[in-house]
């Protein structure tokens, strides 16, 4: 069976929904294809960090995208094989209506202007095919659509933007930590796509379950805040439970259709324009499972990366009164463009308003200190008391996008007979130097007078931030998409998402992914 549309979008997450809303508003006939079966609306939000941590510690090589109860909401949990044991990549993207946008934390950082020119400024990586000034207007629009809350009048803030909603005020914990970690770490409020208005006006209530569920609906979700405005439009068709198996090309250098599975039948969806919006890795999996021009296919997957993370459990010498307010309200970003960036990658330190490795309430801390640290007796009770002086700090660091790291196809197949994606990731020499440098920063923090104890709880490659694999560039021989996210080789195909990045930076990528989507939609070559 074959159906025909103006616009075909694969994926219903942030990029797909922004795209759908854009074209439906213009009167185009749009189909959105989503492999997931339903919307994510759990009854009982719980802190999910422990479950993911359990998966990470038990499965260093083979990462299953698991989440307690996730199979009720998310379709077909995907396996990624990590080829390298050390610093494994723990895949953690979600498949369902809204995609990972249904469960993101809301952290909304722009990349710094320097992140777009690492080759020119620091001698490593690849410069993006456009600078910060060119993408800045799109960041502004994202902040409007996502009701982003952020600070103003911060000294040395890398950007000259103005947020509609004010930043969440720094917690008491932030202020104590700021005092003790200065001057090396300057703790400033972080921006979030979470409405910072009075709770009676639909604002955040500090429930601490942002990722699992926002009980106030204050965190931007594409399925709850964008999709409802288009789902009843007569020009919009949403096909759920319909995985896209491949794109189909014709000799003229265009995409003719996509093949999807509906029930147990294969169906072809034809359109004038195609947007792959299925997340960084799934986009590459679809492309690698498709008949593409060879000069395009050989480039897919190269330069894959994710952010490095190091999780610290830090106990201070005074009470912090943890577990209040939002899960996190501040970070130290003064280290993003540190003086050694020609040798050591960019990094930042997120400050969490509790130690999430043990829990943000005394009973949770007691049981977790008992179970995870196997403490008992006096030590258990003392450490539980200390937990009110204990918080998690997370170093997020940039990882080089070198071509030795790849997304390819696994020998393991999914239930539809298609190979899963396989991620080969390893740290470069520069990445290792950065990791060693962070080890020195840990020692520095340990020796601060106000700090009682620092434990490194774990490290790895962030499973929520897969980036690279279909780089944006000007040269079709070394890049997959052009500065407008359009494929160099297939003129009616746009590939959205983090795969277009040329550098990871050290900041959560969703905001930039959304900005790149709006940039793509502004491509003047698009006409219907």
């Amino acid at each position: 069976m074959t159906s025909s549309y103006d616009i075909c979008i694969v994926g219903s997450g942030i990029t797909g929904t922004l795209t759908a809303e854009h074209f439906v508003r213009q009167g185009a006939k749009v189909v959105m294809i989503e492999r997931g079966r339903g919307m994510y609306l759990p009854d009982k939000p719980e802190e999910y960090w422990f479950e993911d941590w359990k998966v990470i510690s038990e499965n260093p090589l083979l990462t299953k995208n698991t989440w307690q109860g996730a199979e009720k909401y998310f379709d077909d949990l995907v396996e990624i094989e990590n080829e390298r044991r050390e610093f494994a990549f723990h895949y953690n993207m979600k498949y369902g209506i809204g995609g990972s946008g249904a469960v993101w934390s809301g952290a909304s950082w722009r990349l710094t202007p320097e992140d777009f020119r690492t080759r020119t400024l620091f001698g490593y990586g690849t410069d993006w095919p456009f600078g910060y000034d060119e993408i800045s207007p799109y960041y502004d629009r994202v902040e409007e659509i996502f009701f982003t809350s952020g600070p103003k009048n911060i000294k040395n803030w890398p950007w000259k933007n103005k947020y509609k909603y004010p930043a969440f005020k720094q917690s008491y914990l932030d202020k104590v930590v700021a005092r003790h970690l200065a001057p090396e770490f300057v703790i400033t409020p972080s921006p979030f796509s979470v409405k910072n208005t009075h709770p009676l006006d639909g604002g955040c209530v500090g429930a601490k379950t942002c990722v699992r569920r926002c009980p106030a609906n204050a965190r931007f979700r594409p399925d709850l805040h964008l999709l409802p405005s288009i789902v009843k439009n007569k020009n919009f068709t949403l096909l759920i439970g319909s995985p896209c198996l491949s794109i189909n090309t014709v000799r003229s250098g265009k995409v003719d259709s996509v093949t999807i599975l509906r029930g147990d039948k294969l169906e072809k969806i034809r359109a004038k324009l195609f947007f792959l919006a299925a997340n960084t890795i799934e986009n590459q999996r679809i492309l690698l499972n498709s008949p593409l021009p060879p000069e395009m296919k050989k480039l897919i997957g190269s330069g894959f990366a994710s952010h490095g993370t190091m999780v610290l459990s830090i106990t201070m010498n005074e009470p912090l009164f943890v577990g209040r307010g939002r899960p996190t309200t501040s970070s130290a970003i003064n280290t993003l463009n540190h003086p050694l960036r020609s040798k050591i990658n960019s990094y930042m330190l997120e400050i969490w308003n509790a130690d999430f490795t043990i829990g943000s309430s005394p009973h949770a801390a007691f049981l977790n200190i008992r179970k995870k640290e196997r403490q008992w007796g006096k030590t258990l009770f003392q450490k539980t008391l200390d937990a009110d002086s204990r918080f998690a700090g997370v170093f997020i660091f940039e990882v080089e996008m070198n071509n030795a790291n790849k997304i390819s196809l696994s020998s393991v197949k999914d239930r539809y007979g298609r190979p899963f994606a396989r991620a080969r990731v390893a740290l470069s020499k520069r990445d290792r130097k950065t990791f060693e440098h962070l080890g020195k920063m840990v020692e520095l923090i340990k020796n601060k007078p106000g700090v009682k104890e620092v434990q490194v709880k774990g490290y790895g490659l962030n499973g929520n931030h897969p980036l690279g694999g279909y780089r944006a560039g000007l040269d079709p021989s070394s890049s997959v998409v052009d500065p407008w996210m359009r494929s160099h080789h297939l003129k009616n195909l746009y590939i959205l998402g983090g795969g277009a990045f040329n550098s990871t930076g050290a900041l959560n990528p969703t905001h930039t992914i959304a900005a790149l989507t709006l940039k793509a939609l502004d491509d003047r070559r698009i006409y219907l």
Partner: protein, 169 residues
Amino acid sequence: MNLVLDRAISRRWFLKVLTLLLLEGCGPAPLLEDALQEKEFSYFLTTLIPVDEKHLNKFKSALPRLLRKIDNARKRDISNTYTRFKKRYVKNYAKKPFSLSNGESIIAEMLSNKSLSDETNSALDTLYTLFLASPAGDVVSWGRPFSKPGVKCLYWENYDEPVNLVKGG
């Protein structure tokens, strides 16, 4: 346990096994509920839960009710662990007044013993879970109320300020 008496078995090995049997016992552990009133059980609890007497008594009062809610496997773990604690305590420290460090050394020894650590840890996990479920569990509450995940933060209006600790906290 089958003992194969063979001339090749050394006398030393035989004595080791005999000591283990005498210490650990190979019969069924006594009923846990009966043990609650023993003074050694108080020592056992004090070692594991070194809180003030008021809270410890609260826990001891609630324990019979709480024990009815757990399965027999967990009761057995606690019972076996207590029985071992009691045997060691009686053997080594019966003639001395109770001291926390003596109780701690017994627990530490059981936890470091590979053949006992799993059951001991399981018993401790259960006891601590029961403790938190009892009225005595409020002793770990950081001396203040705390916000629960998934509901509006108690301190939403003033999370940027220090907290006034409750009296006695």
